[in-house]
């Protein structure tokens, strides 16, 4: 019976699966609900603190849910389920890195960042160093990470459209990307961080309920026997190796090192992602920031456990071949599985959740990019901190529109390109340009401006340069230029080189620097970071 269903699904699949109108309808309900939340939030968005930090009035639980919403992008939902369905065990490896990474945020970053900063990562990094150059560097790497991530999300939206709405024409897909983009601009423009946070919370709740129900359903089909499900996955795939590591990364010594490089970037990148860091400012105290991370770890951990079930479940019920041949390829595993389990309605829900995911993540990235430009570059560097709150909000909103339009154009331009590497690049840049400087400035007394600049620019430039001269661009089948081999760097992920290098540069720059930083500022930062004295308070309740 299952096989009959599968063949039915695959024959339809060339154009569409399920009913696109059901998918659109359910998505419109999501839009209506979030729109309501955003408009409500906008009434309370009056100051820059409201706009960038949601008035610091969210609870740890709310913020933790929103963090999960921000973090669990379409790439991790569709991508990881698909990767497990096709590559088996190697897909599971991603999710472990994505989860363990939160311990860095919990132990070393979240609370101290909340205690010392105001709106952005740059607030913390420039606290005791020379304001201007450090702020510019931090804002540059924030914008770079946000834009790489944003482009990947927007390009993914195009692929999702063809898969779920049955729109195959380039014009139609561009139109949907534009609609998603305009909607997102509207959300962030009027709702600021408060509106964005509610969108994340609603989305995270839907996503977690969706994957939770599907996982329990799947397990029930196998009599709650995970081992039996794995057995079925092996039978369907006809390949016992799906349960073992190596299908995706085991090809050569080089691909194994590449995997190690990716693992490093994942585990150290998360706590340097500016849109994640910014979320810690939306709670009133460091203790609530801690609670946010704890809650986020529970939700994200639960989610990745579900993806393990969904991935192997998709492998068992559909098989890697069916998934690879469907439009959208690997990304279609979760939607196809939903259709297989619950027909049109479940597919519609999962499709709507996937869209909501893109919308919410893009909104989170946009407000981060906007804060970084309007607060760090315009407010602090150009206007030297003399901008009033109304001026800072005006600048923020203007940046939201510009970033949104760039995202739409970039998303349309990136259609059909293989941009999955952009997410890995965003993590690598976050791990090398941001994390070392965050750690040094919080924990190392002798850290200097020069160390910060060397580490941030060094990490940023190394990561991007290595990617430009990697097989992502040159010489391999999936490269942008498959016929010319200019890949001087043999790996697709720069982390294994750029992360240690940035740590070394930060140290070297500091020990060779003759300038000493203000010890009073260092004392203030350290005392504040640990005690929370003088930390920005909530503006309303």
């Amino acid at each position: 019976m299952t096989s009959a269903l599968i063949t039915a699904a695959t024959t339809d699949v060339s154009t569409e699966v399920g009913n696109p109108w059901a998918n659109i309808g359910i998505f419109l309900v999501f839009v209506a609900v979030t729109l309501f939340a955003v408009v409500r939030a906008s009434r309370k968005t009056k100051t820059a603190t409201d706009f960038y930090a949601g008035g610091r009035s969210f609870t740890g639980t709310q913020n933790g849910t929103a963090i999960a919403g921000d973090y669990l992008s379409a790439a991790s939902f569709l991508g990881i389920v698909g990767a497990i369905a096709i590559y088996g065990y190697d897909g599971f490896l991603y999710s472990i890195g994505f989860l363990v990474a939160w311990l860095v945020a919990l132990l070393l970053v979240a609370e101290m960042l909340r205690n010392t900063g105001k709106f952005t990562m740059a607030d913390v990094l420039s606290f005791r160093l020379r304001q201007r150059p450090v702020r510019i560097a931090a804002a540059t790497s924030t914008l770079a990470v946000s834009i790489f991530y944003l482009l990947a999300q927007m390009a993914g939206a195009g692929a999702l459209v063809s898969l779920l709405l049955g729109i195959d024409s380039k014009l139609g897909q561009s139109l949907v990307i534009a609609i998603v983009g305009v909607l997102m601009i509207f959300y962030v423009f009027i709702g600021g961080m408060k509106g964005t946070t509610w969108v994340q919370i609603i989305k995270a709740t839907l996503l977690l309920i969706g994957v939770g129900i599907m996982s329990i359903w799947l397990l029930a089909l196998f009599g709650f026997n995970f081992s039996a499900m794995l057995g079925e996955a092996v039978t369907t795939a006809g390949n016992p190796a799906v349960l073992d590591p190596g299908l995706q990364y085991g090809a050569s010594a080089l691909s194994k090192i590449d995997f190690l490089s990716l693992g490093l970037a994942l585990v150290l990148g998360t706590a340097g992602l500016p849109h994640v860091l910014m979320r810690f400012y939306t709670v009133p105290t460091a203790k609530e920031a801690r609670k946010s991370v704890v809650w986020a770890i529970c939700l994200i951990g639960g989610f990745y456990l579900c993806t393990l079930v969904l991935g192997f479940g998709a492998a068992a019920m559909l098989g890697p071949e069916v998934i690879s041949n469907a439009p959208g390829g690997q990304n279609s595993a979760a939607p196809l599985l939903a259709y297989e389990l619950g027909g049109t309605i479940l597919l519609g829900i999962i499709a709507a959740v996937a869209f909501a995911t893109i919308l919410a993540v893009v909104a989170g990235l946009t407000i981060t990019a906007s804060a970084s430009f309007a607060h760090d570059i315009y407010g602090e560097v150009i206007k030297k901190g003399k901008l009033d709150t109304a001026g800072e909000m005006r600048a923020g909103r203007a940046t939201v529109v510009v970033v949104g339009i760039l995202a739409i154009l970039g998303g349309i331009g990136a259609q059909g390109q293989n941009v999955a590497f952009l997410v890995a690049l965003a993590f690598a840049v976050a791990a090398s340009a941001n994390l070392p400087t965050i750690i040094y400035s919080l924990f190392w007394k002798r850290f200097t401006t020069r160390g910060a600049l060397w580490s941030m620019y060094g990490g940023l430039i190394t990561s991007i340069t290595l990617i430009v001269f990697s097989p992502v661009m040159w010489g391999a089948e999936t490269s942008f230029f498959p016929d010319v081999d200019l890949a001087l760097y043999p790996l697709t992920n720069p982390g294994i080189v750029s992360i240690p290098l940035s740590f070394i540069l930060g140290w070297l720059g500091s020990v060779t620097s003759k300038a000493t930083e203000d010890p009073a500022k260092q004392a203030e930062m350290e005392v504040r970071s640990l005690t929370g004295v003088g930390a920005e308070k909530a503006t309303d309740h």
């Binding site: 065990y89 490896l93 472990i96 311990l103 132990l107 794995l230 073992d244 590591p245 801690r290 005392v527």
Partner: protein, 130 residues
């Protein structure tokens, strides 16, 4: 309270015994724990990449060592999270709160101290809201 530091001066607070104690309490947990989970994670990744035949050893039915160790990563992440929260609540927060309250009473930490009038600079109950 045993010392005579000026609580509105960050450098003096930084040198105080109580603050040094706070810093030590914080670092003596987070640093070793970070090293431990990073080594454990990297060991896992290296095993998965370079010893796939080890990871393929069946443990229970179709469940192999790779899946068991992968799930163990989840378990340790949850355990470390819980351990940190318990430690922070018990050991870190009391010292931090005490210091913060004394400093705030002394008028420290306001971005622009207009005039030091003692308690008037901070809202009451600005400690933990949980």
């Amino acid at each position: 309270m045993t010392t005579t530091h000026n609580y509105s001066d960050f450098q003096q607070v930084q040198k105080s015994e109580q603050f040094q104690q706070l810093r030590k309490t914080h670092r003596s947990f987070v640093f070793p724990m970070t090293v431990i989970f990073l080594i454990w994670y990297l060991a896992f990744v290296i095993l998965a990449a370079f010893a796939p035949e080890f990871m393929a050893i069946k443990v229970l039915g179709n469940i192999n060592l790779g899946i068991v160790l992968g799930l163990a990563q989840f378990v340790t992440t949850f355990i470390i999270t819980g351990a940190y929260v318990a430690y922070a609540n018990r050991k870190i927060d009391p010292i931090a709160t005490d210091l913060r309250e004394q400093m705030e009473a002394a008028g420290a930490g306001e971005p622009t101290p207009v005039e030091v009038t003692g308690y008037a600079t901070t809202a009451p109950g600005s400690g933990d809201a949980s």
